[in-house]
Symmetry: C2
Subunit: 420 residues, 2 copies
């Protein structure tokens, strides 16, 4: 397996993946190899069924060049996003576009065997031929040792510590599997689908959901940290937080004062004490106040709810200001249920960060809401998979030297090494 070949192969495929409809001359210029090499690689990729011609491009005076695109429908990858009470399952094509989605109610405390068995059952229902799966990406709400695919001491996933999530799926589907922290996948998904995020080589993705976490991109690559728990900012000490006890047992945690659970709790308190007639109605109707109810009330003009969200934003912003000075990202992306609900949180975050961070660090900084929608976690998971599938080392095995012109046996190549 000559190293150069797989390198140029991956370079060509990457360029086609990144620029649908790219032409051969453009590839020559972009990839920087000679014409014959590019042409040979394209032929290889076409005979493997990974690339097809997609019409002809605009002519610049002579013959119009043919446009190439990834044959995204050549295979499917599975993304699984595990949450505390819900699990998202998606099937995507090789371009990372979701073509099927399912959402299941689970209890993560039921343990990995029950939850992952449930996930397998759902995938098997959507995708009867399990041999069609090219790869699997799993996001979990806790730290993961990425190299081995083992969760490490996840605080909100009792019974999952050290469970071989990766090996289980790799064996069951005979397909390579990668497991990562959910927030890392959000960051990755943002970078892969939002050009502005890709352009900012250093990025922080902040998720404000029930908990609070961050995903870090350094120089275009995920920074996972030494134990795989980088970005775990839910339990750092926040400002003005006297006496609030967090689910982790400590007091003063950011999550305990600005997370979704805290917002719901304070919303309920407002509803009960007459601080918000709107939320009092909601409480009466459903018997509970969720974070979504607070954002809903804020949208409908409730001053108490707006103040509550603004306070949460300020608290997150205060911590984020320190992190921005420290990390100096070019872009901060804010996602998660709470942030998705409106501008009240975002505006407060912006104000805090711009006020408290080093001026130079905020000179070109932008703080934007995530462009990903509901399926954000799945998007990241499937992009992780296709990125890894099309990495040079793995590609070399699919398209072995001097491969026959026919379709290489894509369904079985993964077997020799479940997930390296």
């Amino acid at each position: 397996m000559p190293a150069e070949r797989s390198e140029s192969l991956a370079a060509v495929l990457d360029a086609i993946r990144g620029h649908q409809g790219i032409t051969q001359p453009m590839l020559i210029q972009r990839v920087g190899w000679g014409r014959s090499v590019i042409a040979a690689r394209i032929t290889e990729l076409e005979s493997a069924g990974l690339v097809v011609t997609a019409g002809v491009g605009p002519s610049t005076g002579g013959r119009a060049p043919r446009q190439l695109r990834l044959r995204a429908e050549a295979g499917v990858v599975v993304g699984i996003g595990i949450g505390a009470t819900r699990m998202a399952i998606g099937i995507a094509n090789l371009a990372g576009q979701l073509i099927h989605r399912a959402e299941e109610r689970i209890d993560v405390a039921d343990g990995p065997d029950a939850v992952l068995g449930h996930a397998e059952a759902v995938v098997d229902r959507i995708l009867p031929d399990r041999r069609a799966v090219w790869g699997i990406g799993v996001g979990v709400p806790g730290p993961v040792e990425f190299a081995t695919g083992l969760p490490v001491a996840p605080p909100i996933m009792p019974g999952w510590d050290g469970y071989p999530v990766r090996d289980r799926f790799a064996r069951h589907y005979d397909a390579p599997t990668w497991v990562d922290n959910e927030v890392n996948l959000l960051a990755l998904g943002e970078v892969r689908t939002n050009p502005a995020a890709a352009a900012a080589r250093d990025l922080v993705f902040v998720k404000i959901g029930t908990g609070i976490g961050a995903g870090l991109i350094s120089g275009g690559r995920l920074h996972r940290g030494h134990n795989g728990c980088a970005g775990d900012i839910g339990h750092v000490v926040a400002a003005e937080t006297e006496g609030v006890i967090c689910r982790c047992g400590n007091s003063g945690c950011l999550e305990a004062v600005a997370g979704g659970a805290a917002i719901a709790r304070e919303g309920r308190w407002l509803a009960e004490t007459g601080g918000s007639p709107l939320m009092a109605e909601m409480l009466a109707a459903t018997g509970a106040i969720r974070a979504a109810d607070v954002t809903n009330a804020a949208y409908r003009g409730d001053p108490g709810a707006r103040a509550l969200l603004a306070r949460a934003g300020r608290l997150v912003g205060a911590t984020l200001a320190t992190l921005v000075s420290f990390y100096n990202p070019g872009l901060v992306v804010v996602g998660g249920e709470v942030a998705r609900a409106g501008d009240y949180v975002l505006a407060a975050i912006r104000e805090s960060v711009y006020r408290r961070s080093l001026p130079l660090a905020t000179r070109t900084l932008r703080i934007e809401p995530s462009t990903l929608g509901e399926a954000a976690g799945l998007t990241g998971a499937v992009h992780l998979v296709v990125d890894e599938l099309f990495a040079p080392a793995r590609l070399a095995r699919w398209l072995p030297y001097s491969s026959p012109a026919g379709q290489p046996d894509l369904a079985t190549v993964e077997a020799d090494d479940p997930a390296a």
Copy 2:
């Protein structure tokens, strides 16, 4: 210039640089290329004068292999570390070992022309033939746009904003020049000279001097941030800091309560109010209290000084705890004058971090003093230079294809591109 050749060339040179006395068979195994290629690259490097034979290694039964080493004396690089009141200037060989050092008193507020002219005069005195300089590394106490070598809005360097430091040296010495933030160079120097730091792929170097700053390593590479100011934690908001005004104009900055200036200020207050007879003596003798006097007093058993340093350590540790949770480094290295003085600060930092950070992030975390001595900044600067000099792209230009067996003209090759 074939890409492969320069790649294998750099790989061989890197291996020799990293393992002095490596043998040809070891290189074959380590670099992973065939015998003939390795032998050819060694011949090339020898004819260029970069590598020489250094005796023969132990025989394992047959002919003993010859050992290779970098001919570090083949050239010299210059390191310049600019501080607020002092400037360190060093000459190092190609292995990054300092062979000359000078320290000059300056005032950085005199502006770049005066300071850099002074630096050039000192270098010219030590090194009469300026053509002998292979490269120059400059550390400055403020943010730098690394790609262009321009300081950007450095708070404590009036008049330096946008001054072409790199181009000035590159022109004057006709040698490639790199400029970086001083703290980044400390981190780099630590990684290059301390095997434990190199092993921890994610590292934070915290410098506590007059100011406070950090250098970040992500996956073995410097994380400089989007504006080159990553690690600038001197002006984040610290805990328990009501009303203290910082030199930056804000209040509550970490630097204003735990930096060297703050320690000196509080030491003086202790001396004046009778809180420390020892420091009162010092004050009477010299008319001032510096941070070094406080650490000195702490060493000699002064409880007030010890408490003062412990408080500073706790404050740094509190911020660091957030950063450790966020960044999840494998190692935190503490350096700078204040930290170098003793264990009082370090112990307090350790206690704060271990108490407040996420348990998983501290499970394997070590917090250690820097192994670099006085010349820490210079060490980083010269290592930056040799790293860049021996990077594949630059190496390819030195040893052009089919170079004559004689010495290539190393003194002039840099001219075509001062510092890319």
